[in-house]
């Protein structure tokens, strides 16, 4: 993937943060609202940057969790949006 859409990345991090614990791929994909190949592209992109980590549960299915770096990035994103909205005056 050349340039990911910030909105999809933000939503991905959002879902992971809001749910706290690790999640199954299909659950994330459903909440993200993109098709599976697209979801896999984003997942790979995030895994490559250590923003999320994959592990196997007892049943052997893959689970995704937000890493500390992912939480940091999400924190930065939220603070930036807050800063932008606080800065606008009419």
């Amino acid at each position: 993937m050349e340039k990911p859409d910030l909105y999809v990345v933000a939503r991905f991090l959002d879902i992971m943060f809001s749910n706290g614990s690790s999640m199954k791929n299909t659950n994330i994909q459903m909440l993200l609202g993109v098709n599976y190949p697209r979801f896999m592209e984003y997942l790979e992109w995030l895994l490559k940057r250590d923003l999320v980590a994959a592990s196997l549960d007892e049943e052997g299915s893959e689970r995704i969790k937000l890493t500390p770096k992912g939480i940091d990035s999400y924190h930065r994103l939220v603070d930036w949006i807050k800063e932008t909205l606080d800065g606008v005056k009419i």
Binding site: K3, P4, L6, Y7, V9, A10, R11, L13, D14, I15, F17, S18, N19, G20, S21, L31, R49, L51, P68, I71, S73, Y74, H75, R76, L77, V78, D79, W80, I81, K82, T84, L85, D86, G87, V88, I90
Partner: protein, 234 residues
């Protein structure tokens, strides 16, 4: 402090920032609504007054053209009941057109604010759900996508608002003209007051226009740049 505590603190900080985003968005929308309400009131009052004067003037002009007599004769020749009904008709026409203008402008403003309003409602709903789900654990959806979209809409809307504010001076001048004319019944003084108010508001708007426009355009540019940078720094 162990990792779990650290993580929990960071989550609380994020949650507090998310709540703050919802609050500032709400305040922002409220300020915008108040401003548009003032513009709506001035616009409706102006339209109503103009229609009232136009109806009155048309009646007198009609009399003058058909009879070829002075305006004073018009008042002398017509019964008091007729004069009252003429004033009443003009007032009713002014009132109705003022009300219609108000609702027309309200519809226009509401359409423009619909997107912002629904984004904020969605954010509030999700934040409440999150708080009910006890913030840190359990399901729910975040609000960053909506907040990001809202921030983008706001930075796009601001320069447009400033551009529109440029026309407000004419509106205020016209309102000043109508009010003065009604209060002191002197057309020349009303014109002078109207022009003075128009020039004053225009001067003030012009003074801040360049500064505000460049500030908002810069804000928009920085926002777009930071959007790109954010992805690059991940």
């Amino acid at each position: 402090m162990n990792n779990t505590e650290n993580d929990s603190n960071r989550r609380q900080e994020i949650q507090s920032s998310l709540n703050s985003i919802v609050e500032s968005s709400d305040k922002w929308l409220e300020r915008l609504r108040r401003r548009e309400f003032r513009v709506r009131l001035a616009g409706s009052f102006l339209t109503g007054s103009l229609v009232l004067m136009a109806v009155g003037a048309a009646a007198i002009l009609g009399f003058y053209l058909s009879q070829g007599e002075e305006i004073d004769d018009f008042f002398e020749q017509q019964s008091l009941a007729f004069q009252f009904s003429l004033v009443g008709a003009a007032a009713a026409a002014g009132l109705i057109s003022g009300i219609l203008t108000y609702f027309f402008l309200k519809r226009k403003h509401d359409t423009r604010m619909k997107d912002l309003s629904s984004l904020i409602t969605e954010m509030k709903k999700k934040t409440n759900e999150q708080q009910q789900n006890n913030a840190n654990v359990g399901g729910g959806e975040g609000i960053t996508k909506e907040a990001l979209s809202l921030a983008e809409k706001i930075v796009t809307l601001l320069p447009e608002l400033v551009r529109k504010r440029k026309h407000d001076s004419l509106l205020f001048g016209a309102v000043a003209f109508v009010v003065t004319n009604v209060v002191i019944s002197n057309l020349v003084v009303a014109i002078i007051v109207g022009v003075l108010v128009w020039l004053y508001v225009r001067h003030r708007t012009k003074k801040s226009y360049e500064h505000e426009m460049s500030k908002y355009e810069e804000q928009k540019r920085v926002f777009e740049q930071r959007k790109k940078d954010f992805i690059d720094t991940l």
